[in-house]
């Protein structure tokens, strides 16, 4: 599936929920299902630090595709992270760099884009694109 097809799939899944608490129940469930980052990668250099929750993010390049694993100390953040990982993981660096993540807005999660000054999905998406750029540079 392409990045946009996965985004559309997520938007479709969220369209089933009537209210915010149902949406959050699903996000929490997604958080619990997130493939955890290996303990060895849970290092300060993989930490996206913010005022609120902390997120660890690791990227591996396999067969020309970037595979992300992540974790967070807050379960809702973990759920949000799991969605971005699901959308971007397993794609080529070029696809990741050029992607436009519209699902966050469509699902109504814009407030998580920049919850605090230095945290939020924006910081994580930016970090994922930086990883993709780094892998692209290495491959070239």
């Amino acid at each position: 599936m392409t990045i946009n097809e996965i985004q559309d799939e997520l938007i479709d899944e969220f369209s089933m929920f009537g209210d915010w608490m149902e949406k959050y129940e699903y996000i929490i469930q997604l958080g619990k299902e997130l493939p955890l980052i290996k303990e060895e990668y849970k290092q300060p250099e993989n930490l996206i630090r913010g005022c609120q929750a902390q997120v660890w993010l690791h990227a591996d390049l396999q067969d020309g595709r970037v595979h992300f694993t992540a974790d967070s100390d807050a379960i809702i953040t973990k759920g949000l992270v799991s969605m971005v990982v699901r959308v971007l993981s397993g794609h080529t660096p070029e696809e990741i760099i050029n992607s436009e993540l519209y699902f966050v807005d469509k699902i109504g999660l814009r407030e998580h884009l920049s919850v605090t000054r230095s945290n939020g999905l924006l910081a994580m998406i930016k970090q994922m694109k930086i990883y993709a750029l780094a892998h692209q540079a290495k491959a070239n």
Binding site: W20, Y24, E25, C51, A74, I75, I76
Partner: protein, 415 residues
């Protein structure tokens, strides 16, 4: 928790008071707003909102400069506000009240000016482990600049200052003590009178960060005999971008200006400038005139309601919330001092404070989560942050019931 102010149920007409705050009639995600983030900023009553409109509609002009009618009216209103604030604090002189941008600005002013005049290599400044970053970082910057050192009063597991250890810190190297009157994270009311008395026995001045105190507790700077006291306008129902530095005349007169510019000078030549007297020496440039004037309106508003009545009612809220939340499984209150005001902070075992905050938000309940700009305090407790519920006198017990139900629901979803 202290019970010495629990004399009788509050006589405040809260439903009537709530009508004074238009934002309390709004909804969030289709639910009535429940605002429990008053420690971050308080909502504004109509009186203040109308005063802001009135200033720009009828008064807008620069102060202390013009000979024209409007400028004189604006100057009169500006100085009338200073007098109100001086009376509110029971300052000996109006010129001991300096308008600043806020608490942070006021602390930076003292750190810079006092430091420049009185602090040298080898000296020390005392703060406490429960300080907000704005009462830590300016002193760190000053100490680095003056080659001085910070000493820290530790706290116990209840979130109270260890006063024995404070006494042991007092020696000839200490040039100033800067502590919170009320902790923004735990609500602890510190024994500031005792601190000031002990400090003065060693001829050490004391600065109180009263940002979380003046809206909850009647403050009398002469009774406290405090040397400096700072607070922010927006936490006491006034506008943002305005704060107060109270300083004893004898200290302020010895301190060099923090910033240079218009209004703070007597005479400028290209060779030498002489500075104005207090308070203007510390008010360089065009001030936030509207906010200075409207802070006076906010002070009038709460003075009319009466701080003793506000204190009593908010104490009832705090006790009620403590009872309601304490029974929630795995919930632990951070900060169980015998003397508390305005704030209830908690964590739930196995649950990140951020998650609780996000779910409460979706129920229309605004709380603060995180480290509350008190990272050293969080390290003391070994936690990433708390959920902080901070009260104003427009909050109700019914709102606390909904908070307790919301926390219970959130915890069930998250565990």
């Amino acid at each position: 928790m202290s019970t010495d102010i629990m004399v009788a149920p509050s006589t405040l007409d809260i439903q009537q008071i709530r009508k004074d705050f238009p934002i309390l009639q709004t909804t969030v995600y289709g639910k009535p707003l429940i605002y429990f983030d008053n420690g971050a900023t308080a909502q504004k009553p109509w009186a203040v909102l109308k005063a802001i409109e009135d200033y720009y509609t009828h008064l807008n002009s620069n102060v202390h400069r013009g000979v024209h009618h409007l400028s004189q009216k604006a100057t009169d209103a500006y100085e009338a506000s200073r007098r109100k604030i001086a009376a509110f604090l029971n300052a000996r002189h109006d010129h001991e009240v300096i308008f600043t941008k806020g608490t942070t600005d006021a602390i930076n002013l003292v750190a810079y000016s006092f430091g420049k005049q009185f602090v040298k290599e080898g000296d020390t400044i005392i703060i406490s482990a429960m300080e907000h970053h704005s009462n830590i970082v300016p002193w760190q910057i000053m100490c680095e600049d003056r080659k001085a050192k910070l000493k820290v009063i530790p706290i116990n597991e209840k979130g109270e200052l260890k006063m024995d250890e404070f006494s042991a810190l007092l020696d000839k190297t200490v040039k100033l003590i800067a502590v919170a009157y009320v902790s923004n994270t735990m609500g602890t009311i510190n024994p500031v009178k005792d601190i000031i008395e002990q400090a003065h026995q060693h001829n050490i001045p004391v600065l109180l960060d009263a940002a979380q105190a003046v809206q909850h507790i009647p403050v009398d700077v002469q009774d406290l005999d405090v040397d400096f006291l700072v607070f922010s306008g927006h936490k006491i129902y006034g506008p943002t971008g305005i704060g107060i530095l109270y300083g004893k005349e004898e200290w302020l007169n010895q301190m060099p200006p923090y910033q240079g510019g218009g209004s703070m000078i007597k005479q400028v030549t290209l060779e030498k400038t002489t500075y104005h007297d207090l308070p203007f020496r510390f008010e360089a440039g065009t001030p936030n005139i509207e906010a200075c004037i409207c802070l006076g309106t906010a002070i009038d508003y709460i003075t009319n309601i009466g701080l003793p009545a506000i204190q009593q009612y908010e104490h009832e809220l705090l006790e009620y919330a403590t009872q309601k939340l304490s029974v929630i499984d795995k919930l632990r209150i951070i900060g169980t001092s015998a003397q508390k005001s305005g704030v209830l902070s908690f964590i739930v075992e196995g649950v990140h404070p951020y998650d609780v905050g996000v779910l409460l938000d979706k129920l229309g309940i605004a709380v603060r989560t995180g480290h509350h700009c008190t990272q050293p305090l969080m390290e003391c407790f070994g936690i990433p942050g708390t959920v902080r519920v901070s009260f104003a006198f427009y909050n109700t017990k019914e709102e606390i019931d909904q908070l307790a139900a919301g926390v219970t629901r959130a915890v069930a979803m998250l565990t």
